[in-house]
Subunit: 421 residues, 2 copies
């Protein structure tokens, strides 16, 4: 341990705001090339600075914990991942979208197969790490068991097993941002984007402004997980139906079942629709995106809950978005414009059943060139009483509904529980 | 929108690796002072650089999304939070631990009441933001409904309502790190810690090494959520029992019910024990920490799953930790040493029922000066078949069990499902 403790002392500090002189060449990145050899490997290693061709490093936020592990001597700073047997359990892609630099800008399409396509570089000592991992799992949710008990779903022994276990392929994806593409997507200049990313994070990564040559950024944020139900090939087969839900994290409801919103009920419903669709010969894709509280974080979310419940007249659908704007400055920070990337990575061109009422998600997907046939609202019986404020406010603001959109008078009448109840 | 779009252009770039000359004074921080006025406000604002007294900024990782909101013109860079009606629904603290600079090093004890205790600074134009938010909620989990149906829990109308809703006080907490205290806790020099945090994140925040005068760091990582069941006052009352579970995030199990581990079953069991204890006149504290996959992240976790399932002899309890070490370099990066801070923030000095088998968590808590009376292992019937590999490997490595610790021969026999099943 003591030996390891001293290991980090051996390296002198290189301030990244000053140019680094490479002693050996980092791979060049040609974003949007469909041939991974021509595209070039993404190298976010910390062992050999000269090999790096990105801003930031791997594992998103968890790089901070990695730093603690090195500081405390638990981890050798030169540790290089042994990737034996870690390769994907099923192949995904390549798809034509992988060769379009504008179609995917926030993840590395080759992230799951780096040890295969860059094997020679790895042998040369480059520390190249997967940003995508593909595995299989059995998942078991009480709501799916309930759907079986109530006869809405039937055990088939292959997709849905005895006891309610659902067989899934699951994919974890870390963010990899191509800054020129991201800027284009958000309709700002790359310079403005880089400056804001630097200034508005309190000065994170000076390279954002000092190194325009580094075009790829591994941001310290959460990524996403994809749950695929049914055959992976069915996702891109035009003759087989596809159900999709893109779900933004809401820990309070997803894990703990808080009744102020519809997140967990819609999550369960989404998985049910995905299962049905897979059982009918198609596939279901459920994407879980780490964007807690509309990407404002949970502290802001709870502050807003208090402000909503305490405002004059109590928690009201007609004032639902106002309180978030007062506290956070915007009602939402999720940037759905980036979300379709994962669908393009999967090769999706048409969604038959889109399990979401969100107009922001719908527009982002359709504007990115994917066709949506049906939109599936959450069934009324799944909406908790206290979540009527949220759902009515969202319907009035443009959420998809098959019913009458609530007007201002109706909205003013829809109230939530007070804090003292 | 266009006006907002140009707002960020007006500010010229200040590279934070060079000293900033303040035009007005940032508050001085005296970490560990029990008087918040003497302790000084934590100012992580981005509107007035001269007011800042920290490295980094608020909202953890979500500051990156905030930067996108400013870049895209959706958010004015000078937005200051309107905190009207956001104050805590119940007071927590102050407790004697708040005045001990070594007892709490990873959160701001005054984080929930900044608009109260620093009201004058706020009026002077300082943009001070809460790092803690305290609200109330009703949560409803299928497992709690099941416990009621099976007669293990009874509806009392106050803590546990008809339909299985549990009334909770919940607290969201963002990380606020006092670097000298953190270094002491991890038993490294502050310089080593700062250097590792800078180097091992790919050069995040040069101020870590150029500004030793800035001792507080708001790291871009996830925080935690505390669910309190029963009276908040019962937590610190020596005559009332306290149940505690500290639960590290595992999205695959917590949300989706993956059967490869015991996370969700133990989570549900923890909430059940907390509810029982509260109903008997005590309180339950459930802490949810955002440390996915032992703080290695989900990509690493899935890579390890593949390597475990594919190794010679299949997924085996006797090789459980090895595969994580090969991929990540360490079996675990959670740094339980920091976890007890939240318990001290709550004023806890004794835990009557500790719902965890983890020796790392137990040792961290006991070494921090909190007494633990009983340890509650997960009931056997809640362990999924495929999770036997995990639980046996952990028992052999020191996890608390009331049964015989599995030996090497037994461990070698405990196998999990293969990837093709």
């Amino acid at each position: 341990m003591q030996q390891l403790k001293n290991a980090s002392k051996l390296k002198h500090i290189v301030l990244t705001s000053h140019p680094i002189r490479p002693v050996s060449k980092p791979p060049r990145i040609h974003w949007g090339e469909i041939n991974p050899r021509k595209r070039g490997a993404i190298v976010g290693t910390l062992t050999t600075a000269a090999h790096r061709n990105v801003i930031g490093t791997h594992s998103g936020s968890y790089s901070v914990y990695r730093a603690l592990a090195v500081a405390s001597g638990a981890l050798h700073p030169n540790h290089r991942a042994d990737l034996t047997n870690t390769f994907p359990v099923v192949p995904i892609g390549p798809h034509p979208s992988w060769g379009n630099p504008d179609r995917i800008v926030s993840l590395d399409p080759f992230g799951a197969i780096v040890d295969e396509v860059y094997a020679d570089l790895y042998k040369q000592g480059y520390d190249i790490r997967p940003t995508i991992a593909i595995t299989k799992a059995h998942i078991n949710l009480p709501e799916i068991q309930d759907a079986i008990a109530k006869g809405r779903l039937a055990v088939d022994g292959k997709i849905l097993k005895d006891g309610g276990s659902l067989v899934v392929t699951k994919v974890a994806i870390e963010p990899v941002w191509h800054l020129p593409g991201l800027a284009k997507r958000l309709d700002v200049s790359e310079n403005e984007l880089r400056r804001a990313l630097f200034q508005q994070t309190g000065g994170m990564f000076p390279e954002l402004v000092t190194h325009p040559d580094l075009q790829v950024f591994l941001p310290p944020i959460g990524g996403m997980t994809v749950y695929i139900i049914g055959d992976v090939e069915a996702i891109t087969d035009p003759h087989r139906e596809l159900a999709v839900r893109v779900h933004d994290e809401c820990n309070g409801s997803d894990v703990f079942g808080s009744d102020i919103c519809t997140c967990r009920p819609y999550l369960a419903h989404g998985l049910e629709v995905c299962t049905e669709t897979a059982q009918a010969g198609g596939a279901g894709v459920f994407v879980y995106l780490r964007k807690e509280g509309r990407a404002l974080g949970e502290v802001t979310k709870f502050l807003v809950y208090n402000a909503r419940k305490r405002q004059e007249g109590g928690d009201r659908a007609d004032a639902y978005f106002n309180r978030t704007e007062c506290v956070a400055g915007v009602p939402d920070m999720r940037f759905q414009e980036l979300m379709p990337d994962v669908l393009h990575w999967l090769g999706i061109t048409q969604i038959d059943r889109f399990v979401s009422m969100s107009d922001m998600k719908y527009n982002a997907i359709v504007n990115s060139g994917i066709k949506i046939i049906h939109r599936i609202p959450i069934p009324d019986e799944l909406i908790p009483a206290d979540a009527m404020v949220e759902i009515a406010a969202k319907q009035a603001a443009g959420y998809y509904t098959e019913k009458t959109v609530p007007n201002l008078v109706t909205l003013g009448k829809i109230k939530g529980r007070s804090l003292s109840d």
